[in-house]
Subunit: 290 residues, 4 copies
Amino acid sequence: MQIGFIGLGNMGSAMVRNLLKAGHDVAVWNRSPDKAQALVAEGAKNVATPAEAAQGAVVHTMLADDKAVEAVTFGVDGILSGPGTAIHVSHSTISLALAERLAQGHADHGSTLLSAPVFGRPAAAEAAKLFIAAAGPAAALVTCQPLFDAIGQKTFAIGDYAPAANLVKLCGNFTILSVIETLAEAMTLAEKGGVPKAKLLEVLTGTLFGAPVYHTYGNILVDEAFRPAGFAAPLGLKDMNLVSEAATDARVPMPVLAILRDHLLSTIAREGDDIDWSGIGRIIAADAGL
Amino acid sequence: MQIGFIGLGNMGSAMVRNLLKAGHDVAVWNRSPDKAQALVAEGAKNVATPAEAAQGAVVHTMLADDKAVEAVTFGVDGILSGPGTAIHVSHSTISLALAERLAQGHADHGSTLLSAPVFGRPAAAEAAKLFIAAAGPAAALVTCQPLFDAIGQKTFAIGDYAPAANLVKLCGNFTILSVIETLAEAMTLAEKGGVPKAKLLEVLTGTLFGAPVYHTYGNILVDEAFRPAGFAAPLGLKDMNLVSEAATDARVPMPVLAILRDHLLSTIAREGDDIDWSGIGRIIAADAGL
Amino acid sequence: MQIGFIGLGNMGSAMVRNLLKAGHDVAVWNRSPDKAQALVAEGAKNVATPAEAAQGAVVHTMLADDKAVEAVTFGVDGILSGPGTAIHVSHSTISLALAERLAQGHADHGSTLLSAPVFGRPAAAEAAKLFIAAAGPAAALVTCQPLFDAIGQKTFAIGDYAPAANLVKLCGNFTILSVIETLAEAMTLAEKGGVPKAKLLEVLTGTLFGAPVYHTYGNILVDEAFRPAGFAAPLGLKDMNLVSEAATDARVPMPVLAILRDHLLSTIAREGDDIDWSGIGRIIAADAGL
Amino acid sequence: MQIGFIGLGNMGSAMVRNLLKAGHDVAVWNRSPDKAQALVAEGAKNVATPAEAAQGAVVHTMLADDKAVEAVTFGVDGILSGPGTAIHVSHSTISLALAERLAQGHADHGSTLLSAPVFGRPAAAEAAKLFIAAAGPAAALVTCQPLFDAIGQKTFAIGDYAPAANLVKLCGNFTILSVIETLAEAMTLAEKGGVPKAKLLEVLTGTLFGAPVYHTYGNILVDEAFRPAGFAAPLGLKDMNLVSEAATDARVPMPVLAILRDHLLSTIAREGDDIDWSGIGRIIAADAGL
């Protein structure tokens, strides 16, 4: 398929490689162009503007935040500036409010938005093992399924309203951080009571909590491996702020979310910006005098 | 082995049956004696006092709360009233403070306490599929391993300080309820945003959260199957109060625990005593106007 | 003094009347012009645009939210569209971010921003009994003191950085709502324990808590006089969101604030938009089964 | 009147002095007898047991905690061990559960319990300026009014159910600490935003919050005068635990209370036992990186 891909960070570059491997023609664009060069050597075509990247059947975006997505979509030489028959597959973790504006912008323009945020860290992206939560018009989802298959291990169809997939993604990130919070509180209590953190984790993962998120983050907490950051605290804060906005707009009290946000603020205030979001564990331990 | 078993509720009776099947001679005692009769037909020997149940090599207790464990241990005709060479295996979810007093009481008496709380609901007890977190003197743990194998699928050795196993159990129950809380908050946000609860659960369990506790309680929340109670809210509150006491004594702030306690209080106040502890999901939804 | 006044709601109209009484010439502008007419009869001059209102020595704004302040300042025919030698006295409760942009906008324009948010309800505005927290360049504060004296009973000088006054105002509103929250929690406990709410309030205000905010809101809680709203819950939510933004930007965890926000969300979700912000008391009581 | 007084700490000794000044005959008892000696020089009569102190018309107790009150009331040579026609005026801050047991114990014994907890620090006790919340049978309240007048500036009659006065006292202490929490959160936000804490306090106390508790604790927070402790954090924790027990028993969620307890735990864990309960302000600032 003729496609475009905008946003070539660790995640985006890995996804492009897998799309190339699956035989697609990929026009790439990145704000800082050096990242595109590396992919040209592997078969991608570097283009000069987001609008050019959107000339194919589908254009993907995988960007850091609302502002970046907004710029490449609505900005000068943006996706919606051209004739635009493309499907826009938005992989980024963005606000519901922006997802709604994107959907409306595409509807006004005669094009289609699919929201398809992904679950997985860079290693999963490289291995084409991402999970994809996809929502939007059914025909477009069918069209894009081969693309999803090229980058992920499973696609969850969330329905025909694109922002619903963004909401699922936000809920997922909230659930991950709440696991970290809970583990850290329990481990702190255990440790002060004479039970090593690793022992508690062994029991939890060996009984009812044998899911990847407990293994991954449990071990980070046991080893206090908060640096270098796999997912930095300020990015985690950005995501939790998006959840908070969604909850505020929907009038949903979320007391655990409030704790997560406060602990991220404390983590950043006390530890700086370069710590992993699981670094809330350090604050939780410090608040108990450890 | 000649053993005794005190406390013949759903959990205890199932455990006794599996001990009988494994060939042990089991003397049973229960405050209301009718429950013992049913087990006599299956080979148990009914005795008149806790002290008599403690005449064998090991006596197990599986009781509702601190008060009951205290009475059968320290009370008239209690476990510690006799000559007492037995090992006392305490399976109940009790306070750290009581576990410490039990350990001391046995030490003073020349006998041994093992704390061996179990993870699992009655069906797991019947299937001999419990998980056991066991702590106490190493020799006693070796002696009791065949008994643990008769009732459970796996034993986790927590160390030689018996109350440590009780602490692990409290941490486990805290972690379970925090999963319920988090799922309920996320599902409420999802539902108000147009994503069915079952859809969110499918994505979570299909990606990073594929552990039994998410399946079990996720489906209860989706179906709002809060009655009849598998584990009633007042029992959940009792356990969370035990965690809170432990945290207070250890000087460990646990903000998620505070939310869980408050939501259980609200659940009981608004829904009564006969609702499952996962009924906090109903309060969380109601607080969002659902 | 030749001044302008933009925003003629209950608060603004009362302030204009007191400025007229003090002998100032007041050019007024309001988005819906009928409110201006009433004041013309009392000596004000109705003008056609915010820019015209800003032709005098000082222009006041007293508007509902960031959006309104932004529009009259930066918009077409806005305060900054004219030659602009005026001092802009901003009385509205706005975000720190906007206050900073206003200060910068005026600096670029060669004019001056004073932030001068007010404490008090409409009755206090009518009686010229407002409290004013004012910040900005010292010379401008001196110039405006007679205007502050015309509308208020006391002015607090917060310093030369205008947004600091906005921050003080946000802290004040946070403190008010936290008093309501605390009183409602205590009253709910008292009532379930057999102590009438009014009795508890009598003791509190008769001992250590004899401040106006306890009398005012305590009686509202005792009487459950949540409608009609003196300050509607959605406006309270707007303000608490502004505090939350400020706290997020400054990396300050504020756990009580999180509770206030969640309770306002629940109040609006369950009771609608027309309830007073003190209606959080109803949610707190309902969560205890009252 | 012939009376007794048990518990001669700073508060109790000051109260005895004022009772002596008012012309009453006071038999005193204290666990460590040296404190009694000082009062003998001022006219008190030292007795050997609590039971002897209870031979007069009224016996007061002013003790540190439940355990002490329980011992002098129900213990060997305790208040209830003698013939007992006395009225027992209990001034201590104790649990509702103990207050109920005291009331029942006196009823069984043919004597009368009044709960009369006091508001005020040692200086207020010396100046006979305490506030008293008194509850119990009306006739006994009338009898004791001259005694209350000797030690306090005002008595609030809470009704004929003695534990109700204890509940009012617990609500009062909760309200005080919530003021400290709120001020500390607001001051931290202000300070990080460039507004000195003292400036914020000046505005708050100068407008809506002009009550003693804001002056007293606001200045402690401004000066960070957390040592020496006027009311040590562990005592504050004890009181908040009593509130928590009452709230748990009454099924009342109190989310602000949960924050207060967690912050006290953190204060004690990080700062030790010798810090004032207002030291939660240090934790709140530290959590923001100050």
